[in-house]
């Protein structure tokens, strides 16, 4: 028998191996173990990312499916997602903020089966998450948690000046005048960022106004409610705030109250959580109350976050299995929510009074009775046009124009023209 040489052995085995891969179309590693990837945002509650990593390890142990979790800054998400969609390659699972499922609708797998299972266990998905993750009657992403905008205020200052906790936006104006005199102004950004819309929206809704109507086509910004909104902002800017709010970013109001300057801000509870974690002196002085209301009720901006699966993924079933593992097992979901220290709360009706709200007395205000949660652009469906209106920051620019000298009518007319152009485009 002819002896096998090293060259002969290598040639034969490589050829046979390649032939096998080409015939089956499956590389050997994949045939042995399934692997999925998840592109998640850099959570504003970093402990939740840590918990996610722990859960991912357990998932692999329990199911044999390997998972790699990558993280990305929230600012970089649009560019990254666009490149994955354009190249039809990238991660299997992606974290989707607010209206993203509408933007990427044709590229996302229908996940209605998972949502149906979750709703059986935890009750219906809350309205804001449904409005954003269910696109044209199909669930394009699975809602996982949400964080809403509430009022964060300096309890000590309110007590010292004998101020009433604002129940309406007019109450805030009354308290804000005193706060400014004390050197602790109200801090609401009026600039080109989403936090600015997060406050302007609820004030507008509480006055009965809206940007675009439910049909998604009729622009309704030119209304008496908007004029009232502008007038309210003008007097608040003049008597209760400082000009710095015109330059604020999403983080500025947090920094201002944490550093002891602002007396009242409108934000998710992150300002308090970070102050607590960093042991800042202001942590003990801060408390929360619900977003003020108006003649048309109390409305709050909500930021639901979902998980979607790209259609180009070759691992749709394992990806679904991971979502079921993370959100569908009550003990795991509970553990995941608890890790966020009330920054991210469950999106299912039966879980609204979650134990995380009892971990700190200052979370008592986060219980959601009587609150109407909405995302930007409500009540219009979050179509690409409504999202362009949001992303063009027309609402805060209108307010910035008005508080810096443009007449109310002129500012509103400008917003009306810009919105109509976008809707007609």
């Amino acid at each position: 028998m002819q002896a096998t040489t090293r060259r002969h052995f290598l040639t034969t085995t490589t050829g046979a191996g390649l032939a096998g891969i080409l015939a089956t179309g499956i590389p050997p590693a994949r045939a042995q173990q399934r692997e999925i990837t998840y592109l998640c945002w850099n959570n504003f509650a970093p402990l939740m990312d840590k918990k996610l990593a722990e859960i991912a390890v357990r998932f692999t142990k329990d199911t044999g499916i390997k998972i790699r979790v990558d993280h990305i800054n929230t600012e970089q998400q649009p560019a990254k997602y666009a490149s994955e969609v354009q190249t039809q390659a990238g991660h299997d699972l992606v974290e989707m903020r607010m209206h993203f499922p509408w933007l990427y609708e044709p590229q996302l797998v229908d996940v209605g089966d998972i949502v149906a299972d979750l709703e059986k266990k935890y009750g219906k998905v809350i309205a804001s998450a449904t409005e954003t993750a269910r696109v044209h009657s199909t669930w394009r992403a699975v809602p996982q948690y949400h964080g809403m905008f509430v009022a964060t205020y300096r309890e000590d200052l309110f007590k010292k000046a004998g101020l009433k906790i604002p129940d309406t936006w007019e109450d805030l104006y009354v308290a804000g005048k005193e706060l400014k005199k004390m050197g602790n102004p109200v801090g609401i950004p009026i600039n080109q960022n989403l936090d600015s819309i997060s406050t302007a929206g609820p004030v507008l809704w509480s006055l009965g106004g809206m940007e675009v109507d439910r049909d998604g086509k009729t622009v309704r910004i030119n209304s008496p409610a908007t004029e009232q909104l502008v007038e309210w902002y003008k007097k608040l800017f003049r008597d209760c705030m400082e000009a710095e709010v015109l330059s604020w970013t999403n983080a500025s109001n947090n920094e201002s109250i944490q550093q002891g300057k602002a007396g009242w801000i409108h934000n998710p509870v992150s300002a308090y959580i970070i102050a607590k974690q960093k042991k800042l002196p202001t942590a003990d002085l801060i408390n929360h109350h619900r977003t003020p209301g108006g003649p048309n009720g109390r409305h709050e901006t909500d930021v639901p976050r979902h998980i979607g699966i790209w259609k180009f993924s070759k691992n749709v079933e394992p990806a679904k299995e991971f979502i079921r593992y993370l959100l569908g097992r009550p003990e795991t979901y509970n553990e995941y929510i608890m890790s966020a220290d009330a920054f991210n709360l469950p999106v299912f009706e039966k879980l609204q009074d979650h134990p995380v709200l009892k971990t700190d007395v200052k979370y008592a205000a986060l219980r959601s009775e009587g609150v109407q949660y909405h995302c930007y652009g409500w009540p219009a469906p979050p179509s690409d046009k409504v999202q362009l209106i949001t992303n063009s920051f027309i609402l805060p620019i209108m307010l910035a124009k008005a508080v810096t000298g443009t007449s109310t009518k002129e500012a509103v007319a400008w917003a009306d023209r810009e919105m109509k152009k976008i809707v007609a485009s």
Partner: protein
């Protein structure tokens, strides 16, 4: 046998692959293209292909992940209806014009200074390059803290020196101040490029020209005006050309400092393009915004290069 018939005949080389390659490499018509090909492939893949894709997107109604079709120049025409775009168009010229002019004047001044006999000359020249070397996003983040309404070290210093009234300018919250801030950071970042390139030009000017001018009684201003500046013209043309293109397409500074605000007063083509194309999914319109000035810039490049060739 006649002696004259005797010649030296070298033995023919055996026809092996190695020899064939050696012969090919000796031929200029083969060697030239071989050296150019890798660069050409890179240009096609990394410049030509993305450019053609951008051009296609700009002429189509492309939306992320959805089928698209060509719409001609509609995107370019419709953009004029947008107040934000018109404002951006104006901002781009104000930003570029002011920043390039400042960088030119300050760059020549700095280069003249660096050309003097200084102590620690090498160290200073190295230090001058720092703003150019540090990643822009990182250095701009530092500037955003310096202009921050709560912590502004600029205002703190101004107030301490008595040249600003408390609380000082709202750098990123008022339209003209915000434009001043983004221009200042761009100048800070781009100045080393001007200074070092002009310095290279200065060093290459023959000393004899200055000696002759001095012998003719020319003062320092006259020497600068009639010797230095004319000799620097080709270098200046190239530096201005590069800087104009880079400043027009600036993104990081505005994105980190102002996000285009306040009231769209600092938006540039790149930042608006991102807002429309990536954040809102309208890739077609986004590409049209980024390519809007391509014909103008192409003409500027052509004119400048023609000028440089003429000078040479």
């Amino acid at each position: 046998m006649a002696i004259g018939d005797v010649g030296i005949v070298s033995a023919p080389r055996p026809v092996t692959l190695r020899n064939r390659i050696r012969v090919l490499l000796d031929r200029e018509q083969f060697l030239g293209p071989m050296f150019v090909t890798p660069a050409l492939i890179l240009i096609v893949l990394l410049v030509a292909y993305p450019f053609c894709m951008a051009l296609y997107f700009a002429l189509s109604n492309a939306f992320i992940g959805r089928p698209s079709h060509l719409v001609g120049l509609r995107n370019f025409i419709n953009l004029w209806d947008s107040d934000a775009f018109r404002q951006t168009f104006q901002n781009a010229f104000v930003f570029t014009g002011t920043a390039v002019a400042c960088k030119l004047v300050l760059g020549i001044s700095l280069a003249l200074l660096l050309n003097q006999q200084l102590w620690f000359k090498r160290l200073i020249r190295g230090a001058v390059l720092l703003p150019w070397v540090i990643p822009t996003a990182l250095s701009t983040l530092g500037w955003s803290w310096m202009f921050n309404s709560l912590y502004s070290v600029v205002n703190w210093t101004g107030i301490a020196l008595g040249i600003m009234h408390p609380p000082g300018p709202n750098w990123l919250g008022q339209q003209y101040y915000a434009m001043t801030a983004v221009v200042a950071v761009n100048v800070w970042r781009g100045l080393p490029f001007f200074a070092i390139t002009i310095l290279a030009g200065l060093v290459s000017i023959p000393k004899e020209l200055y000696e002759a001018a001095e012998a003719d009684g020319a003062g320092s201003v006259a020497r600068f005006w009639y010797v230095t500046l004319p000799m620097l013209r080709p270098v200046l043309a190239i530096v201005i050309l590069f800087s104009t293109i880079l400043t027009f397409s600036d993104f990081n500074i505005v994105y980190v400092l102002t996000h285009g605000g306040p009231i769209n007063s600092t938006h540039l083509f790149a930042t608006l393009s991102r807002q429309i194309g990536l954040e809102s999914g309208r890739i077609g319109e986004g590409a049209a915004i980024s390519l809007y000035l391509f014909p103008v810039l192409a003409f500027v490049v052509y004119a400048q290069l023609k000028f440089v060739r003429k000078e040479a």
